[in-house]
Amino acid sequence: MNSAVVVFPGINRERDMARTLKLVSGSEPAMVWHAETALPSGTDLVVIPGGFSYGDYLRCGAIAARSPIMDAVRAFAGQGGLVLGVCNGFQILCESGLLPGVLMRNQALKFICRDVYLRVERSDTPFTRGYNAGQVVRVPVAHGEGNYIADGETIARLEGEGRVLFRYAAPDGMIDPNWNHNGAINAIAGILNDRGNVLGMMPHPENHVEPSMGPTDGRGLFAGLVDHLARAA
């Protein structure tokens, strides 16, 4: 798997992401600085990691979404390339127009770092083939602005087209406001673009992949991607 991790000033989970990509896929990702205008040739997967790009000043992800490398990411996605945005990456994808909607401040107006439970809604996508539909996975979140909203029409489309891939849930998989820590509409934790090749999600699967460190539920996402790309090749 040839992955590329895009690094904006202020991004701070790029090392976590790179370590996980290496661990699961066996190959080192390329680190791509925001001022570049092209992705390394042969890239199969672009990852925009978490952090506080440009301090998240103005709105989270807003400034990064307008940097030069994002034109290349847009073109890559336009050709069907796989793009994964995690946390700040999700926010950047929304701000850049690659995904609909916006991430508002958490309902409780506080940054929250804790393990949450996600219900995987579908397993027939490149991002979730490592899971079973309905499976509940435990991964950490760490954000102040993860409260997903979009207008009614957009939400209806996302739901209607099965583009909500992850939802915050109780450990038993039930959707329950008590387990929706940021107040996202329909408990949305991760969504797909209309073409199915761009995923944005708030939680950090990359932080739960090593057995010696604790839960490994995040691994399925990356393992699924490796598998998908291997088959496509």
């Binding site: 090392r15 998240d56 770092c113 760490a142 010696s212 460190m213």
Partner: protein, 737 residues
């Protein structure tokens, strides 16, 4: 030295916090009247914060050496060797007053400052901790302060990208007008790539790095600077605003130029900014420094030499650069979007010369600026010894079960989840043990090595008996590191006290330091860095003496670390250490009996060491399945914490007949641990303990869904956990945002 600077008057001198005799010392030293800018520089260098004038002679008594200490106190941070060519760089620092004035920014810039101290030395920060003391929960400002401080600590660390993995939060009315914010940062470096502040070589370029200089945090001459003209009020912000985004860039840029071998010396600009950093670099290297202020990147126009020299704008550094590396270093800083300017040179003269607009504004002997700072041996008086409170004299006002429920839901003992969930504690992917245990455990690189980190102090003990309290703070840190299986290596201290000009406060200070020193010596646990914060007083009333101790230990293999949660039903619960039932200064006495009196529990350092070594060996041998040290609240509270962490209860035996039950279960005797072992191992472990001359007794078995004490109603773990988690969120939700 002309210009339109104000004339030096006795009032101006006083406003700079300099006493007449201190001013006389300046006159004697330089043989003339100082310029206004020079006065500002003296005031910055000779204030308590920079000169340690009240504390210096006492700090000298702290043990600072051990074979694993690479750098003790005196640099930006302490450095210890953890083997495999790796070093840990760490320090703790206070930002108390700013956090009272502007809680969010005050706390945020406190975190920013300590992170800079660590990465200035070439270390990548891998963890932060914080110790917070607030006033009475019912004081009208407390909630606002808690909310702002916690958001500020989190806001900076989360954005910078370092996990905040541990700390302390306490409430007491004695912090009403003086909340404490102590922030600790821990970084990792290679032992042969540590960077220091001492300049070397004459004619070397001095480079200014980072953010631009503004009029942030210029203290002292409030009236004097008002003479500068209209809008003086507007020009005099005393609160700095943090910019974690810039600091993150500064970190990456600094580590990059260090890796490229561009740096001779480097120093962050902290308190007294450019002044302190430039003087320190020169003085430590036995060199003079000449600065050209017209080259300093400024955020505002028309800044005077005085303002530039005293500005405390954040996210800045000063570096002595290898001249041949100039272009390379500059390119790195430009890439990260940061300012880079050569603002001066080292000189052979041992003088500190500052020019502005072609005029020499400052010309002072550089070594004397620091070395000749006044040193005071302030009078101190030992506080009266408090009587030892006999357990028999304390009547239990309620049943044990009720007391436990009340204690576990009290402000100091309740869960601090509300706080640490606002801190990203998992970023970097190395947090093996998250907040909530005895020590945080953070993997080093990809392991198997790991660090154990903790911050501890029990201010009520320090107040009742400074010497025992100082010992206890160190012993508790050592115990917490031991409880996860780590070998304790070294500490940083942050000494928060009231007004040192009062003999009784000075007595607390001296007593605590002596206690700290005694414990450090006995436990081979030297002090490698620290910070002193004095004058924490409002309306003549000082804070509780609060010497926060930040401890660092090492584990050879993180997968072998112990945690406090019970692991299985049917295991034997062992208590290590002697229990006499010490109620003086206990949480039970304060929260249940509403009394704060008596002598605090004495700390037997030999016992501390023997018990700790015994427990650590049981962890290393994988015999101990869960471990927890005993502290605030005593035995029953510790048991409750182990049970709540696991959801498994315990069936407990009756305590000894000759100790009152409430004293046995809630007494705060020191040097104790609780651990669980397989039932089949219990006899063997107790025999080992006896053979070593230690007290090791079985007190019950794990199992069930409650804590079952003989003769008491069962205490359901679930109900207990609800109380434990409830207080802080409820308290915070009850007030205005």
């Amino acid at each position: 030295m002309t210009s339109n600077e104000p004339k030096i008057t006795p009032e101006l001198v006083a406003e700079h916090g300099l006493r007449p005799e201190e001013y006389q010392r300046i006159l004697d030293l330089i043989g003339r009247e100082p310029s206004f800018t020079e006065l500002g520089i003296f005031s910055a260098m000779w204030n308590e914060h920079c000169s340690y004038k009240s504390s210096k002679i006492h700090l000298r008594g702290l043990p600072t050496k051990a074979p694993w200490v690479i750098q003790g106190p005196g640099e930006n941070a302490g450095v210890i060797d953890i083997g495999d060519g790796l070093a840990v760089v760490f320090k703790m620092e206070s930002h108390n007053h700013p956090s009272y004035i502007e809680p969010y920014q005050g706390a945020a810039t406190g975190v920013g400052g300590i992170l800079r101290d660590v990465f200035t030395m070439g270390a990548r920060p891998i963890a932060c901790l914080n110790a917070l003391s607030f006033g009475d929960p019912n004081h009208p400002k407390t909630r606002h302060l808690v909310s702002g401080v916690v958001a500020g600590v989190g806001g900076y660390g989360n954005s910078f990208g370092v996990p905040t993995v541990g700390g302390q939060v306490r409430f007491h009315t004695r912090y009403d007008g003086n909340n404490l914010v102590n922030a600790m940062a821990v970084g990792l470096a290679e032992t042969d790539k540590i960077f220091y502040a001492a300049a070397s070589g004459v004619g070397m370029p001095i480079v200014y790095l980072g953010s631009k200089t503004g009029r942030d945090g210029i203290h002292g001459a409030s009236m004097a600077s008002a003479e500068f003209g209209e809008g003086a009020e507007e020009k005099r912000p005393t609160v700095q605003v943090g910019d974690p985004f810039s600091e993150k860039l500064l970190l990456e840029a600094c580590l990059e130029i260090m890796a490229k071998d561009c740096v001779i010396a480097i120093q962050d600009m902290g308190a007294a900014g450019l002044t302190c950093s430039a003087v320190e670099m020169g003085a430590k290297g036995d060199l003079g420094v000449e600065l050209e202020l017209d080259k300093v990147p400024c955020r505002e126009t028309g800044m005077s030499a005085y303002e530039m020299m005293l500005s405390e704008s954040q996210e800045r550094m000063l570096m002595v650069l290898k001249p041949e590396k100039e272009a390379e270093a500059e390119a790195i800083f430009r890439k990260w979007g940061l300012d880079f300017a050569i603002v001066g040179y080292t000189t052979p003269s041992k003088r500190f010369v500052v020019k502005h607009g072609g005029v020499v504004m400052v010309d002072l002997p550089i070594k004397e600026l620091g070395d000749e700072a006044p040193v005071y041996n302030r009078p101190f008086s030992d506080p009266p010894k408090r009587p030892v409170l006999k357990a028999e004299s304390v009547r239990p006002p309620m049943a044990l079960a009720d007391a436990l429920e009340r204690l576990i839901g009290s402000p100091d003992l309740c869960s601090k989840r509300w706080v640490w969930e606002q801190y990203d504690h998992v970023i970097l992917g190395n947090t093996v043990q998250r907040p909530g245990g005895d020590s945080a455990v953070v993997r080093v690189n990809d392991g198997p090595k790991a660090l154990a980190l903790t911050v501890d102090v029990t201010p009520r003990y320090c107040e009742a008996d400074p010497f025992e309290g100082g010992k206890q703070a160190v012993a508790e840190a050592w115990r917490n590191l031991t409880a996860v299986g780590a070998k304790p290596l070294a500490i940083t201290d942050n000494l928060n006290f009231g007004n040192p000009e009062k003999p009784e406060i000075m007595g607390q200070f001296v007593g605590c330091i002596r206690g700290i020193a005694a414990a450090c010596k006995a436990l081979d646990f030297p002090v490698v860095s620290g910070n002193v914060s004095l004058y924490n007083e409002t309306q003549g009333r000082g804070i509780l003496p609060t010497p926060s101790i930040g401890g660092v230990g090492v584990l050879d293999d993180f997968t072998g670390s112990a945690s406090l949660a019970f692991k299985a039903e049917g295991e034997a619960i062992l208590l290590v250490g002697e229990t006499v039932g010490w109620l003086g200064q206990s949480m039970y006495l304060r929260e249940i009996c509403k009394r704060e009196d008596g002598a605090p529990p004495p700390v037997d350092l030999t016992e501390e060491r023997e018990n700790g070594d015994f427990v650590r060996a049981l962890i290393a041998g994988k015999t101990a399945t869960a471990v927890h040290d005993l502290s605030d609240g005593g035995l029953l509270v510790a048991l409750a914490e182990m049970a709540m962490a696991s959801g498994i209860g315990a069936k407990l035996d009756a305590g000894p007949v000759d100790t009152p039950a409430h004293a046995f279960w809630f007494g705060e005797d020191q040097a104790r641990y609780l651990l669980t072992v397989k039932a089949s191992d219990a006899e063997k472990v107790m025999a080992q303990g006896r053979a070593a001359g230690l007290q090791v007794h079985q007190i019950g078995m794990t199992g069930g869904q409650a804590l079952a004490l003989p003769g008491e109603r069962a205490i359901l773990i679930k109900a207990l956990a609800e109380r434990f988690e409830q207080w802080l969120p409820m308290y915070m939700a009850a007030g205005a945002a």
